[in-house]
Amino acid sequence: MAIEFKPSPSLPPPVNSVGAVAWVRQNLLSSPLNIFLTLFSFYILYLLVPPVIEWGLVGATFTGASKADCTGDGACWAFIGVYFEQFMYGLYPSEETWRINLALILLVLLLGTYAVKTVNKLYLSLVILVVYPVIAYFLFAGGVFGLEVVETSLWGGLFLTTLLGVVGIVASFPLGVLLALGRQSKMPIAKSVCIVFIETIRAVPLITILFMASVMIPLFLPEGMNFNKLLRVLIGITLFSAAYMAEVIRGGLQAIPKGQYEAADAMGLTYWQSMILVILPQALKLVIPGIVNTFIGLFKDTTLVYIVGMFDLLGRIQAATHDANWLGMTIEGYAFAGFIYWAACFGMSRYSMRIERKLETGHKRN
């Protein structure tokens, strides 16, 4: 008679291998070098953190209308308070800034709708990508429904930064996908066009492109045919980051095993079906870190529009530090700018990690 096999029961792990004490021992104090690094890090923190807290919080002045109100030894955040509206909206007329807020609220509500299960995601995306930009444009620019016209030269601050960043990201992504597919294409002409475009744009600094967009293009256009500088700069930024995006996505396309292409072909899917349904979902997932890298780079590169006379968040802050009544506020200004850019970029990075986790389906490839 066969003997029945019974697996032995699982035992709990030894006490000192779990819990907080074990964590500290394993991660902070595991070797002499590690102990030294731990102590050294605490020393650096001790040197840095208290003065920063002292300057930025304890000794800081948070309210006030002029520099004279800043009596403490620390930071003068009153400066930020006084200029806050300019930092947010640029020279956009005060009584009209509700339009920008409304557009923002609308966008947040629309994005929030994705969480509702019964909503058709495709239609919602169409609304966000097609209908919303039109509404937002008329809200910002005015000229309809009795809304006062606000020239784009008045747009500025964080509003302009966000606009450049979001439009740049949303427009450069599909363009980058098309360029990447074109570069992989078997059609020689499409392929060459994409390669020339990508290599040319990547070989030129963004500043050059912005100069081209703002100074050179008007020279070449016939008299009277002049389109908006903001639009030209937007196109410049979009083309620039699309070239980078294309190369990131190409990396993803090349990482997809040939078998996936073959399986899609063998089923009778057309080229576009196999790209959209099979290849791109996998390729894009693989290169999310690279894509987000490009997005973050693009967002920070928008500060360069300062060069062509547009005042985004950083531009507005720099201009404010030159105010004769508020001299010496450079550190506060840049600290504020730094915080905003950090928050935006960190947010993007965390969000991308969340997406990556959500798309994880248990294995990499076959």
């Binding site: 095993p257 078998g259 996936q260 073959e262 399986a263 899609a264 072909d265 063998a266 089923m267 009778g268 899917l269 057309t270 079906q273 349904l277 099979v278 979902p281 996998q282 997932k285 798309l359 389906t361 248990g362 294995h363 990499k364 490839r365 076959n366």
Partner: protein, 259 residues
Amino acid sequence: MTNTNMARAQLALGEEAIIEFNDVNKWYGDFHVLKNINFSIKKGERIVVCGPSGSGKSTMTRCINRLEEHQKGTILVDGVEMNDNLKNIEAIRKDVGMVFQHFNLFPHLTILENLTLAPIWVRKMPKKQAEEMAMHYLERVKIANQALKYPGQLSGGQQQRVAIARGLCMQPRIMLFDEPTSALDPEMIKEVLDVMVQLAEEGMTMVCVTHEMGFAKTVADRVVFMDAGEIVEANGPHEFFDNPQHDRTQNFLSQILNH
């Protein structure tokens, strides 16, 4: 190829061929990978293709749905010539299912979505109907309870059975198998072969590249032996195994059967 074998490879007049190779030649660069392939397969026939690696057996099979392009000669599948005409290729691919050595399931889709993708997008079937059909085929390969999992959560044998079901979901007239068990652990080979045997018994036209000689003996109508890009011998399984004509075939069989 001798005349007798030629007669074997070509069908007798009047039999309905579903796949026809006429003087098919293919090169990879300078390398002549398929040499003068003349071969016909009739409807409902089960063909097993074997041969040493690099002999062109996979390439020949993949020419049937034009995953590989041949450069000379003609291939007729279901009366349609496989050439640069995309419409022809897409039409034939709808009717030809394929199972690969490495399964090639789509890892970002669930098992059910893997199965319904082509019916929905190529056959334009309503989603609900496609799902019902997919479940039917999953039942048949005995894996219906895994429908909502992702391929990465399944064993190799299960994945290959899913791949077979995926091929069947297009309701193909021909199934191609390109070394379907070569990437599997020994204990999983049987479950895949069982499904294939069942399929063969139902009368599906099958072209199967495999080294599973047991499978060849039980289900094949003809066994094709290829070497160096040529069909050396094509014969019914009894004659093929018991009385191979060519010394190259004898040599090959002795290598894979005696160990």
